[in-house]
Symmetry: C2
Subunit: 215 residues, 2 copies
């Protein structure tokens, strides 16, 4: 950790969006873009983009614009996407299956290596060529397989117990869909997905008399 350098979460949350847009530009054969054009395509001010990128070094030149491929690669590295990750899904319900079936993850280097459930009707069936394992086999699996990220799609009530098993087996990343805040030791990283929060942002915009700044 470099304690002299702090980056706000708002900036970090914008990086994947830059990354997606730059990837689309590359797919369309665009190799150079002015900060003004990038800004109008992304609906963020040019100064915001410059400020965001300046957190990580200088990627553009005044009057010259951005080299799309270079910027794409830099952001890819900042986001830690220069390598592959092994994921397991815990909870083989609709959401767990949806995530496993979602092709975009693999393109970005996220590889699913296991899926677990307690339901005997589901255990033993295949989801996208991965056999659903019994939750009872999870600790042994974690000991014998390199797993970077556990995706939690279990109900709220089971999340704490499952987290204990994950943490005990030194899994460092939890992508948590279980709608409960998890207590984990330092060094374990939890990224929460609260779908209801996103829906509330929508209803806020429906009803608000306030203008919204930023994107």
């Amino acid at each position: 950790m470099n304690l002299d350098k702090k980056v706000s979460l708002a900036v970090i949350k914008r990086l994947p969006r830059y990354y997606r847009f730059l990837g689309d530009l590359l797919d369309n054969g665009i190799t150079r873009i002015s900060s003004k054009d990038l800004s109008s395509k992304m609906n963020v001010t040019a100064s915001q983009i410059r400020q965001d990128l300046n957190n990580f070094g200088c990627f553009g030149q005044q009057g010259y614009g951005y080299n799309v491929e270079l910027l794409y690669k830099e952001i890819k590295n900042i986001l830690g996407l220069g390598k592959d990750y092994n994921l397991i899904v815990i909870g083989a319900g609709n959401l767990g299956q949806a995530l496993l079936n979602y092709g975009s993850f693999e393109k970005r280097g996220f590889r699913f290596v296991g899926i677990f459930d307690i339901n005997p009707i589901i255990v033993g069936t295949n989801i996208r060529e991965i056999k659903v394992s019994d939750m009872a086999d999870l600790p042994q699996f974690l000991k014998s397989t390199n797993v970077d990220i556990a995706v939690l799609t279990v109900p709220k009530n089971n999340a704490i117990e499952v987290t204990k098993i994950i943490v005990k087996n030194n899994i460092k990343g939890i992508w948590n869909f279980s709608n409960i805040e998890l207590n984990v030791p330092e060094g374990t990283i939890v990224e929460n997905v609260h779908l209801t929060d996103s829906l509330m942002t929508l209803t806020y915009k429906f009803n608000s008399s306030y203008d919204i700044l930023d994107f």
Copy 2:
């Protein structure tokens, strides 16, 4: 729209989190909380909480703390949760089914009134007592039923066409899981859920040498 008052999206994104926490406090019978206690529970600075809430008026008194129920109700209203919403799901795949089966939405006043798909194997079956309708019937349904929000869980390639139908029928809210930016007329509100972005935030934290500010 009140053009004199602008609230940043970062603030708005924190409101659902305050709302969830205050709801939990109420469930536990806690009626008053100091900004310091709220801050330590939420892992946000007390000054951040005060600043956020000041955007919408003054909810606390120096040395007196927050009235939990009052603050909960105020945030509920700010978020537009004082009324019910009718939702339809377009795309009855795993993700669409997962959302329909997710009990928490209804508790907050989000009521699913229809689900649509093009797959003849799924059309006509029931998901949680709601019959899956054929996409061809969508325009007629939208004309005869009050729908506030369309949830898009169709593949990227179908999203633009479906959006045209939705917009043409004056649906004002789109909750978009289709991983494509939608062009909609002014007055239509789109809230995008980019699951991959969330996963990239996790890998960023895995790899970064930068400290992260805020929550």
